[in-house]
Amino acid sequence: MTRTVLVTGVSGHIGARVALALAADPEIDRVIGVDTAPPPSPAGEDGAVLGRTEFVRVALRSPDLVKVIRDADVDTVVHLSLVSGPGGSGRASGSGGGRPAMKEHNVIGTMQLLAACQRSATVRRVVVRSTTAVYGSSPHAPAVFTEDTEPVEVSHSGYARDATEVETYVRGFARRRPDVTTTTLRFATLMGPGVDSPLTGYFSQPVLPTVLGFDPRLQFVHEDDAVEVLCRTARADHPGVFNVAGDGVLLLSQCARRTGRPVIPMPSPAFRFVSGLARGARLVDFSPEQLALMSHGRAVDTTRLAAELGWRPKYSTAAAFDDFLRSRGGPGDLPRALVDWLADFVRPIS
């Protein structure tokens, strides 16, 4: 049996890496990558960054996709093209049409893709990328979310809502096609040298505004681990919904201290105002659910994934964050140097 994998959102960083990794697998015969824009490849359109992946430029909501799936006898679909922001800060597939275009892409795109999969006689496995943002961020929610936790309040904005709707369609698809293995992966915030997200943008600023009186728990998953999980679920059957996150949590204050950058705590209305300005100026794309995250935080339980895959992420939350910092020129050393200097200064006196 020949194996053909279709990867959507292949022009995104994670999509490209997953396609590349799958293309390097001798057991997989063909990897087809689709996206609305070609991968941002320095080597031109031949797709050198994608290895032997065949790139097809097609919108998820166009009928061409059905043809691609039918003609290529695709047996595994890895659906990664979930856009997190309407601006599409750096994401080629964002196509920058504002919030309506983002919703169209995320929700209608997924519906179309799943409809195509439902029609297909060859598709045996569907892997969908979702996000832990579906749990929301609330002071009334349990501290740690398991896959079965119902969100206290359903998010009514942006990315999280799209992901919630996407998951609803995936559940519907799984019900209608029980013969197809469906895997939904809820990823924590991606972190790593190549990740370009609102949060990595936030941590790259020279000063970090925070919400006064709040110190949220954050959880990261390293891009290497995310790619590994996606490849593993694309290669073998792992039905169900799984949280994917690095072990442990970091508090925002802890992250800020690790960056060595100064923090400006501001009351939450001021924080909202400033992030609105930053969003308008296209500096940092901070959506309402990210604002909630910056106040209340979120942590998820990953025991189900570890039990299913028999594997643990290589990077803990802290290690993923440190790796990201190293790639951005390392943490600022001033505070550390100051303490060391003070210690040296005081020691001779005593």
């Binding site: 002071p139 009334h140 501290a143 508090l251 201290r257 020691r347």
Partner: protein
């Protein structure tokens, strides 16, 4: 906890050594202080999934509460053998005092006398407030919900709960040491699910710190608070009225009530949960009355 014991042994060696060794011990302490500062400033410390920061709790937060526990309230902890040394347990305590000072003191008692962190289950209100909610998380506490309670008990932590909630802490002074209605008994169900013992705990002394003689319900509603107390000192003396009266405290851990005889599924049996909740409440009321007699007057020179 290792740190805590380490510091104790440090102290005992100090006493028995001569001047020069004393000097190097001071050096060590200074080095330790700078190592601590360095860890804090570079973010190089661990926080658990609930946001519990053991180092901050031990070295800063509890340090600030200890004088209140030892000198102001002269608190004594009794029945320490009733709390398991290294496995999960659910401490169920009476709640009183207008402000949750009893929760803080119970935390000091469990940490200092039993060398275990106490993980309290707190009201929603606490976690809605800025600063307070996140300080509560850093000192190891979390929201009172079945998911968090089950998770902490499964991890073998000592979890504390005040089932009376606001009804207990906000009751008028005239009703002191009368246990109020317990909630829905969710804490009992959690203990059964985890198979951990329930340790009834009586706290005597908290009732007298802010004697609530009146209430301003309309203003409280306006501010979104469960109650706004009038005490002999508050609001008459302004911020000075927040000073707790120096009553004598006793904290007693009672005989543990086993739950491992029940199957975890029996946590879903409402009759069993109700019966057990009532039993615990009666036990605690008796324990509370006895402990109150044992303490005698709250303010030794005056009888109250």
């Amino acid at each position: 906890m290792d740190d805590f014991q380490g510091r104790r042994t440090d102290g005992s060696t100090n006493e028995s050594t001569n001047e020069s060794r004393d000097g190097s011990a001071a050096d060590d302490r200074l080095a330790e202080l700078f190592a601590f500062l360095r860890r804090r400033i570079t973010g190089d410390y661990e926080v658990d999934e609930f946001g519990f920061d053991p180092e901050l709790n031990e070295k800063v937060l509890l340090e600030a509460l200890r004088p209140l526990y030892r000198r102001w309230f002269r608190a004594e902890a009794l029945g320490l053998g009733n709390v398991p040394a290294d496995s999960g347990a659910l401490i169920v305590a009476n709640h009183s005092g207008t402000l949750p000072v009893d929760a803080l003191m119970l935390q000091v008692a469990v940490h200092d006398e039993l060398s275990r962190p106490l993980r309290l289950l707190g009201a929603h209100l606490v976690y809605q407030l800025p600063v307070l909610g996140h300080l509560a998380r850093k000192s190891g506490h979390t929201l009172a919900c079945p998911e968090d309670a089950d998770r902490l008990l499964r991890k073998g932590e000592v979890v504390g709960v005040f089932p009376e909630g606001f009804k207990g802490i906000g009751k008028p002074f005239s009703e002191r040491y009368r246990l109020q209605r317990f909630g829905r008994g969710g804490f009992v169900a959690s203990a059964i699910r985890a198979g951990v013992p329930i340790v009834p705990c009586a706290i005597v002394g908290a009732e007298e710190i802010y004697p609530k003689v009146g209430d301003l319900p309309a203003l409280a509603r306006l501010l979104g608070l469960p109650y706004l107390p009038i005490t002999p000192l508050f609001p008459w003396l302004g911020p000075l009225g927040l000073l707790p009266l120096p009553s004598k405290w006793l904290i007693e851990f009672g005989e543990p009530i086993r739950t491992d005889e029940y199957a975890p599924e029996e946590a879903d049996d409402p009759m069993l949960v109700f019966d057990l909740t009532d039993h615990i409440r009666e036990t605690m009321q008796r324990q509370l009355d006895a402990l109150r007699l044992r303490r005698g007057p709250a303010f030794p020179p005056i009888v109250m």
